[in-house]
Every structure is written in structure tokens, then in C-alpha cells.
């Protein structure tokens, strides 16, 4: 009998090739050593999907994984993970989502769903508490994400069914297709929507009516109330609540950290037309929250008039405002919102979709691409009359869209003629809306992230703009002032390592990085340890929790090492070291990550030459099996 509370205690294993559905008890050792969520998926991928398996082959796993605090009463507990090998990068892949799906899995009695194989025809997985079955989805294939969700709800006669669906982009194996999650949220990155498409799994639909039982409700209540109170008293809370992530658009622009024209610049001349104030004035309808979140950073927006009138959407994030705004030189907010909505419907990651387009626009500008290459499309900066149809062409792999559907790295290789110089990615993952020249820790974070260029693994927010109080509280006086200064490199290896380990834990318990843990920098190691003890009944000293975070991150690195990743791959595009940032706070800055990287490997206990975890480190983390596997 699985001994811990907080968990539902059981998982679904679904083989789409045979149609077999199996229930397994949650693995006790896995819970103790990897918690759940991200850690659970990492371990399963490590054990079951070797380097010989193509990401789009039936043998790849697609793991939907909640954690022990997901769906509980701690603040922002609505998060869940999707894990699999990424068809975009060919290495470890994960995507995280907020919303209401994770808690619904647990109310239905399941901690995770592990999917393998390939169905002979389109299906969806229907989970109604204990009743689980694969249903025909032929009639849903081809539908957009919201059409799919609506059709499933209508068929069930229950508007509270939660879904994970792919759109045409996932069906057509676009390498950066995301998975759309109730309500209009997205497990966007790493192309896991294409993995779902390759398995012919159109959707997962869940409805649960049961309880989430915890070990010590009184203690958890006490811990949770204290955390809720601290979040509400946090000085940044009002701003995050008022504007959500778009609240930092103007600030990042002033810092020269707001990628513009495919990272040629770090500031956008027309930023006032797409910033948080303009967005609110133009389209705000109401505040919205994910499950159990007191921050409520989400908003419903609706374009009131004009050519894009009645475009309604939520989850408009900083990243998308950049990707479909400044980075493609688009200052038309209405068109930006329409493009965001279109990506959601087609099931495209807005970040990578925006980046392949800004990449193509720069190639057009540099005259590397011409009308013959693009099939007659002129790719002028900011031309939304081209961008909107191009997004569709990507999702349906039509014409020039078929090339961009491969992602920046592959597209650059195919185009040749010096295109690679403009391909802004690390390990095949398009870089999101940060710039290592303007925030040195972010440059390091981009290369050490286990899913390719990514800000959310280390998520160093403390030196984005400089939060001295938070820096002092979290790390102590000895790291100040450098640790909170965006342009300083000192202590940034430490900041990045701590963020990666802590982030792995946050993603494994089911909490949010945009809420209390990183953006508000309020909830930290001891808080999660206390909540875990109360919810699960495990003993969880802080050092043990830190070791779990380190174990998860090291195993992801080992997984990538198996796939041939070495120190040579931990590098930024040349633009960041060769072209000085032309604007904002970062004017004149380039970035040299090598000294920070050297320090980082040392702190990690990784070999400086290969960039692989050493045997000593792996033994220390109880990963003896990995030593042998890496030696082979």
C-alpha cells in the first residue's frame, strides 16, 4: 500500500499501440527520491527512453505528471508537468502548465498518466474518476483546441471536464507544437504537442469528484495560511496581480533586455503601444486565477472594435507580447492578441512560433531569403497581414511554413547561406524574451538549462532588475550587492545552480514559479519542506529536499549526456558575444559566459572538460546506475 498522503497513490499506464490501460500504484521509492511532477517524469524517461528512440517514434513516452502539493491549499498549487523526449531538441523535454487540469487529475484519483505507443487511429483518453477508456477521436481530428474541448464537453454533458488537447500543429508534427490545457493555458515548450500528435492522441479529458487527502490537515492548514498571508503582504504582489507577466514589458525594455528584431536590439521603439498599461486600457475584461492561486495574474482580454474585434483570450504573457510583438517589430496590439489567440487555437508555442518568424524576417532583411525561397511571401518586419497567414501555414505545414515548422535550428541548416548566424537558439530551443548581454545570469541559465535555451529552469529573477531585499532575505548579506546586479557576473553560477535545483522541486511538487516561489521570491526551501511534511507525512529536512532538487537536475543532465550533449553544446549564439547590445541599460554590453560556466561546473561537481556529472557527484546523489550507463 502506498504510504504517503497528498498523492492520489496511483498512476495510469496507457499503451496506445495495443489500447491497453493499466493501473499501477505510485512507486514509493520514486516519491521519496523524486517527489513527483518533473522528477517522476525525469526518472521514467531516463529508465525507458534511450538515445536510440526518436522523439516522434511510438517508443517515446509522454508523461502527464502532478505532484504531492498539486491541488492542495498551499498558494498556487495548480501546476503540472508534461515530460517526454523533445522533437525540437532531441534531448530531455518538459513543459509546465497552470490552470485546472493537474488538480482535476488528482480529484479523479490519479497522480500521473504515462503514455506510450501509437494508436492506429485518432483517439482521446477519457478519465471520469475510476472509469478510464480510450475513445474514438476521428471526428475531432483536424479541429482546433477550443473546438476539441467544446466537443468533448458537449458529448459528456459536463462543462467542468478539463482537457489537454492538441490542435492542427500537433497533428502535423510541428516541432514546437504545444498542448493546450483548460482554461486556455498551454504546456507549450519542447514540442510535446507533436509527440502527442505522433501517438494520434488528440486529447485527454478528465473529471474527478473525489478528495485529495493529506497527512496532517491541521498542520498543512497552518503552513498554508501563513504562506497565503506572506504572499498578500509581499511588496511585489499588487503589481503582479494588476498586470500579470506583461507588467514587466516596459521595465525589460528600459533594461535593454526585451529582444527586438530577432535580438538585433534590446529595446523596442513602439513599446508603449504593447505594454501593460496599453493592454489593460485597450482590452481588459476581468481578473482570473489558476486553481488555488491568490495572485490571480491572469486576465481575460477582449479586443473591443476594429478589424480584430471580439478576439477574446486569457493567458496573455510577457513572452508572447515579446515574441509576437517587439521581436517581429509588431506594434499593433490588436493583431498581436489575434496572433496569440490563433497560436492557442492551432496549438503552437507562441515563443518558438514568434522566434521562427523573427528569424525568417531577419533573413529577409539581410537578403538571405527571397521570394523564391518563401513561395512569394514578402517578410517585412511587423507585417501582420503576412504573420497571421504564416502561422496557419506553419501549423498545416504548407509552403514556406513547412520549413519554419522545423524550428530555427533545422530551418537554418536547410537554408544555409550563413543563416545559422541569425538562428537564436541553444541546443535547438528558441531563446525566449531575455538577453544574456543585459542580464548575465540569464545568459548562463540559457546554456545550462536541461531543455535547451530556457529562462525557467534557473529562473534568476532576483537580478533582473535588482531586488536587494529579496536577495538579502534569500541568500544572505555575503552575496550582496553582486547577486542582485544584472550586469555583474559574480555569484551568478551560485544563483543559477540554486534556482535550477529549487525550480526542479517546485516543478515536482506542483507549485508555480510565476507565483510565490520565484517571481515574488517569497516561498523558499523551508516553506516547501514544511508543506511537504504536512501534506505527505514524509520526513523532509531542508537538506534532503535540496538533494532531491539536485538529483533531478543531475539526472536530466545525464539524460542529455547520453544523447551526446557535452560542454561544447553549452554555448550561446555568437551574436551575444560579438555584437554589443545597442540600447537601454545594457548598451555596449556583450557576454562572455565561460568564467561563469567554469564556476558553475565546479559548484555542480561536473567535469570541466565534458560538462558531465562526475562519478563522485552521482554517487553522492544515489545515482550509481548513471555512472555505469554514462561510461558505456
Amino acid at each position: 500500500m502506498f504510504p504517503y498522503r497528498g498523492y492520489a497513490g496511483k498512476c495510469l499506464y496507457v499503451d496506445l499501440t495495443s489500447g491497453k490501460i493499466e493501473t499501477r500504484e505510485y512507486d514509493k521509492a520514486l516519491a521519496e527520491n523524486y517527489l513527483g511532477g518533473n522528477g517522476f517524469g525525469t526518472r521514467l524517461l531516463w529508465e525507458n527512453v534511450g538515445p536510440e528512440v526518436d522523439a516522434l517514434a511510438p517508443e517515446n513516452l509522454l508523461i502527464f505528471s502532478t505532484g504531492p502539493l498539486c491541488g492542495t491549499i498551499v498558494p498556487n498549487p495548480g501546476r503540472m508537468e508534461v515530460i517526454g523526449k523533445s522533437p525540437l531538441t532531441g534531448i530531455y523535454g518538459d513543459a509546465n502548465t497552470g490552470g485546472f487540469l493537474g488538480p482535476e487529475f488528482k480529484f479523479a484519483g490519479w497522480d500521473a498518466v504515462v503514455i506510450t505507443g501509437q494508436s492506429p487511429r485518432p483517439v482521446y483518453l477519457a478519465i471520469a474518476d475510476n472509469q478510464v477508456e480510450l475513445r474514438d477521436a476521428s471526428h475531432l481530428w483536424g479541429l482546433t483546441t477550443s473546438q476539441t474541448e467544446n466537443a468533448i464537453r458537449q458529448a459528456w454533458g459536463d462543462p467542468r471536464v478539463k482537457t489537454a488537447t492538441i490542435g492542427p500543429a500537433g497533428e502535423n508534427l510541428v516541432r514546437f507544437a504545444g498542448i493546450q490545457i483548460t482554461p486556455q493555458r498551454s504546456a507549450a515548450r519542447c514540442g510535446l504537442g507533436a509527440v502527442m500528435g505522433s501517438k494520434r492522441l488528440k486529447a485527454i479529458a478528465v473529471r474527478g469528484h473525489g478528495p485529495i487527502r493529506v497527512a496532517d490537515p491541521h498542520r498543512l492548514h497552518k503552513v498554508a495560511i501563513a504562506l497565503h498571508k506572506r504572499l498578500r503582504a509581499n511588496p511585489i504582489f499588487p503589481a503582479v496581480h494588476a498586470h500579470g507577466t506583461p507588467g514587466i514589458v516596459s521595465l525589460m525594455d528600459a533594461l535593454g533586455r526585451f529582444p527586438t528584431q530577432n535580438f538585433r536590439m534590446g529595446s523596442f521603439s513602439y513599446v508603449d503601444r504593447i505594454n501593460a498599461d496599453t493592454l489593460r486600457a485597450r482590452a481588459f475584461v476581468r481578473d482570473l486565477a489558476c486553481f488555488g492561486c491568490p495572485v490571480a495574474c491572469d486576465k481575460l482580454y477582449c479586443v473591443p472594435d476594429g478589424p480584430y474585434a471580439e478576439t477574446a483570450l486569457r493567458s496573455v504573457e510577457y513572452e508572447t507580447v515579446n515574441a509576437l510583438g517587439a521581436c517581429i517589430w509588431n506594434a499593433n496590439l490588436d493583431a498581436l492578441l489575434a496572433a496569440n489567440r490563433l497560436c492557442d487555437e492551432l496549438g503552437l508555442d507562441t515563443i518558438s512560433a514568434g522566434r521562427v518568424i523573427s528569424f525568417a524576417m531577419e533573413l529577409w532583411d539581410e537578403e538571405i531569403l527571397n521570394l523564391d525561397d518563401t513561395g512569394g511571401l514578402a517578410l517585412y518586419w511587423g507585417d501582420m497581414d503576412t504573420v497571421l497567414p504564416l502561422l496557419r501555414m506553419i501549423a498545416y505545414r504548407e509552403g514556406f511554413g513547412n520549413l519554419l515548422a522545423e524550428g530555427v535550428r533545422r530551418a537554418a541548416q536547410t537554408i544555409g547561406r550563413g543563416a545559422e548566424r541569425y538562428a537564436m537558439h541553444v541546443k535547438g530551443m528558441e531563446i525566449a524574451a531575455q538577453d544574456g548581454r543585459a542580464q548575465k545570469s540569464m545568459g548562463l541559465a540559457h546554456v545550462t538549462s536541461t531543455r535547451g535555451a530556457d529562462h525557467l529552469k534557473a529562473f534568476p529573477v532576483i537580478d533582473e532588475t535588482g531586488y536587494p531585499d529579496e536577495g538579502r532575505r534569500r541568500y544572505g548579506e555575503q552575496y550582496l550587492p553582486d547577486i542582485v546586479q544584472p550586469l555583474a557576473t559574480k555569484h551568478k553560477a551560485f544563483l543559477v545552480k540554486d534556482g535550477e535545483d529549487f525550480g526542479a522541486v517546485v516543478d515536482s511538487v506542483g507549485m508555480c514559479k510565476s507565483g510565490g516561489t520565484f517571481v515574488l521570491a517569497e516561498i523558499y526551501w523551508p516553506d516547501i519542506a514544511a508543506a511537504l511534511e504536512a501534506a505527505t507525512g514524509m520526513e523532509m529536512p531542508v537538506e534532503q529536499l535540496q538533494r532531491i532538487g539536485e538529483r533531478i537536475y543531475n539526472l536530466q543532465r545525464c539524460y542529455n549526456a547520453l544523447h551526446g550533449i557535452t560542454r561544447a553544446d553549452d554555448k550561446l549564439p555568437r551574436r551575444f558575444s560579438e555584437e554589443a547590445s545597442p540600447s537601454g541599460n545594457a548598451k555596449g554590453q556583450t557576454i562572455d559566459i565561460e568564467p561563469m560556466l567554469e564556476e558553475y561546473y565546479q559548484l555542480r561537481g561536473w567535469d570541466a572538460e565534458t560538462g558531465w556529472p562526475t562519478a563522485k557527484k552521482l554517487r553522492e546523489l544515489g545515482l550509481e546506475g548513471a555512472i555505469e550507463r554514462l561510461q558505456r
Binding site: I73, H209, P211, P217, A289, G292, P294, A296, D298, A312
Partner: protein, 133 residues
């Protein structure tokens, strides 16, 4: 005392349902919450639906065994589990859909104002549920 919902302040986060169920059931269990968020769509508008603690309570009037009585100290109508026969007349009688039925125990359940200090009021981040004396 009774509770009043200020619908335009509700973000649909369901923190009230979660804390309510922990208070009354010792588990996070929205299907057993005494307060329920009604949502027109996933993105609202939302209305926290609460028991009005009516002067002339339809639930109490419908109860054939007088199991629903008023707690004079809080003003809450409460279900006496020992008396409740599980006929569900009260569930049908409540015009506000604020009376619920637990099929497992065979008993009706409703908001009891937490003995005077309602969890939902204390925890709602935006004051969408308030106490009215």
C-alpha cells in the same frame, strides 16, 4: 449573520471551496464544499454561491423530521446529522442550490458559518465573500 458574495471580485480560483472542504471534511474536496463557485464559462463571470441563512428557510420548512435548526449564536441553519433521514427534500427546496447531499453518508450538508468565523471570508484574497451581521 450571513454571507454575501461580491461576484465582480471573484477570480474563479476556488480557494474558498478548497479551504471550506479542509475545514469540514479534513481533505481538499470541492465536491463537498459548502460554498461553490458558479462559472458561466471557464473565464467567468463567476459567482460565489453561498447559503443566505434565510429568515424563513425553505430547507428547514421542507425537512420532515425538523433536522435543520437555527444556531442562535451564529444565525446559521445547521443540519443535525443524527436527525437527518436523507430524504433530500431540503436539497430540492433550496432556491439557491446551497443545500447538498452526501450519498456516502446519506446526509444533507450545508454552510454552518464555521461557528462564526467563516474560512471562506478569511481566505478569499480579494474579499469576494463577506460577513454581513
Amino acid at each position: 449573520m450571513h454571507l454575501e458574495a461580491i461576484a465582480e471580485k471573484c477570480t474563479g480560483c476556488r480557494i474558498c471551496e478548497n479551504f471550506c472542504s479542509v475545514k469540514h471534511e479534513g481533505a481538499i474536496w470541492p465536491e463537498r464544499a459548502r460554498i461553490r463557485i458558479l462559472a458561466e464559462t471557464d473565464s467567468g463571470p463567476f459567482t460565489p454561491n453561498v447559503c443566505r441563512q434565510c429568515e424563513d428557510a425553505a430547507c428547514a420548512a421542507a425537512c420532515p423530521v425538523e433536522a435543520i435548526t437555527k444556531d442562535q449564536s451564529t444565525g446559521a441553519w445547521v443540519v443535525n446529522d443524527d436527525e437527518c433521514i436523507g430524504c433530500e427534500n431540503c436539497v430540492e427546496a433550496c432556491p439557491y442550490h446551497a443545500m447538498f447531499f452526501d450519498a456516502e453518508s446519506g446526509k444533507a450538508f450545508k454552510c454552518d458559518l464555521c461557528g462564526g468565523e467563516p474560512e471562506c471570508v478569511a481566505i478569499c484574497p480579494f474579499g469576494a465573500v463577506q460577513k454581513v451581521p
